[in-house]
Amino acid sequence: MAYVITEACIGTKNTACVGVCPVDCIYDAGDHYIINPEECIDCAMCMPECPVEAIYPGDEVPEEMEQYATKAAEFDYSAIAPGWGTN
């Protein structure tokens, strides 16, 4: 069950999560960062790093934020590289 980055990331994009992710599964999706659920190993390291508390465990995403989980599942990661400043 992957972690999900939600709305609070928009306008913040702090990148602290990107720095701690051991598997480089966090991508720049434009407005906000996004976690590739296929690559996330559920380690939880990103969650406490987020200064705006945007990151939730996949099964604890608030209902009004579900769209971010759906987007992460359907997102095309093939065109971009993980991390920041690379796309």
Partner: protein, 387 residues
């Protein structure tokens, strides 16, 4: 002051919680799984549920699994003692599903004293909160509001849990039952150009010397890098073998050799077999050590020795300070104190110059994520208790 001495089960069970906490502090026990968090602090406020983190996760590691294989009796005694001392209602062992067979003996003994909790094999870095999620029906909250208006990430005590890694608990056993301080750490040496070994080596041993003992031709291996850690979580140990060095830390779990032009995580599919000889002790077999008095979360202990002094193995060389987190420090080899600089006590030859030791005291990131994860909320908790 409670003495570090050999104790029977009945004597250990008769210790008060405060006495046992003080023994852990004096013995110098920190989270050996990688967190390096001082273990004594986790037991200052007793919780109802102890979870043993036996989910050694980095690809290729064997240290914790061998610790369990070789110390079943010790863990059974420890569990009984911990229940008596700290009033644990429940002790669970968190084990990956794939390791069921390896832990079969533990399953046979799980008859009320403790229980086995099998968790998905998903690689999860041994992270405590993830282990709690997978092994119980409890969730550590994402964030917690503290009484003084602060907000911090949730931690295991918020839901009545203490989580300790396998080797850490073996160190607790050693301190409570044998009166032995923590002077060694157990780690896997593996990777390019080397047969896998699991060593119990003195804290502060030189990486280069360990590699030589393990059979690597150090002089002619400049094409290799050494990671202090595994494919995912590591610090850079030696960028170019033969040209520098580093030291075994209290939380070193592996020394992993890779070609210098590759990244650790490219080796995430590494599969290894356990060494036939099990854990091999290098106590008394290294020529020098650099033992840190503090580092990371720890305030440096006050040195009890001076340059030129002769010390015995397991002689106390550092007294914990009262302010903040601090632990007792003990000689990990016998020999002459060759220097005390920058809160690092060098004993014996010391195969490498002091500057390297200083660099080691502040490990640098090296592509992968540095081992961490449980320290910050506790730091804040410590700050709260001091207010």
């Amino acid at each position: 002051m409670v003495e570090l001495k050999r104790r029977s089960l009945e004597e250990v069970k008769a210790l008060s919680a405060d006495e046992a906490v003080e023994i852990m502090r004096q013995a110098g026990i920190v989270g050996a799984g990688g967190g390096g968090f001082p273990t004594y602090f986790k037991y200052k406020a007793p919780q109802p549920h102890l979870i043993v983190n036996a989910t050694e996760s980095e690809p290729g590691y064997w240290g914790d699994k061998l610790v369990h294989k070789e110390n079943l009796e010790e863990f059974l005694l420890l569990f009984e003692a911990m229940k008596a001392i700290f009033g644990f209602e429940q002790i669970s062992m968190g084990v990956h599903n794939k390791d069921r067979e390896w832990f079969a003996e533990y399953q046979e003994h799980a008859d009320g004293l403790f229980e086995m909790r099998y968790v998905p094999d998903t690689y999860a870095l041994g992270e405590e909160k993830t282990l709690i999620k997978h092994s119980t029906d409890t969730r550590v909250p994402r964030f917690v509001d503290t009484p003084n208006g602060m907000r911090r990430p949730g931690m295991p005590p918020d839901v009545g849990k203490v989580v300790n890694n396998s080797e850490t608990l073996l160190n607790v056993y050693n301190a409570l039952f044998l009166g032995k301080p923590t002077t060694t750490t157990i780690f896997t040496v593996y990777g390019e150009g080397i047969d896998l070994k699991v060593y119990e080596a003195p804290i502060g041993s030189s990486f280069a010397e360990i590699l030589e003992i393990a059979g690597l031709d150090v002089e002619n291996s400049g094409h290799l890098s050494l990671l202090d850690g595994g494919p995912y979580l590591h610090d850079m140990g030696i960028k170019e073998i033969g040209t520098g060095d580093g030291y075994v830390r209290r939380m070193t779990n592996a020394l992993f050799l890779i070609p210098s032009d590759r990244q650790g995580k490219e080796f995430a599919d590494t599969k290894t077999d356990p060494p036939e000889e099990g854990i091999v002790s290098l106590v008394g077999k290294v020529s020098g050590v650099h033992v840190p008095l503090g580092g990371g979360l720890l305030k440096p202990a006050t040195p009890l020795v001076s340059e030129g002094d002769e010390v015995e193995y397991e002689q106390k060389i550092g007294e914990p300070v009262d302010e903040g987190f601090s632990i007792g420090v003990w000689a990990s080899m016998e020999g002459t104190i060759s220097s005390i600089e920058n809160d690092i006590v060098a004993i014996g030859e010391g195969a490498v110059p002091q500057e390297e030791a200083e660099a080691e005291a502040e490990p640098s990131g090296a592509g992968g994520a540095p081992p961490r994860g449980e320290a910050e909320p506790f730091q804040e908790a410590e700050a709260e208790t001091r207010r």
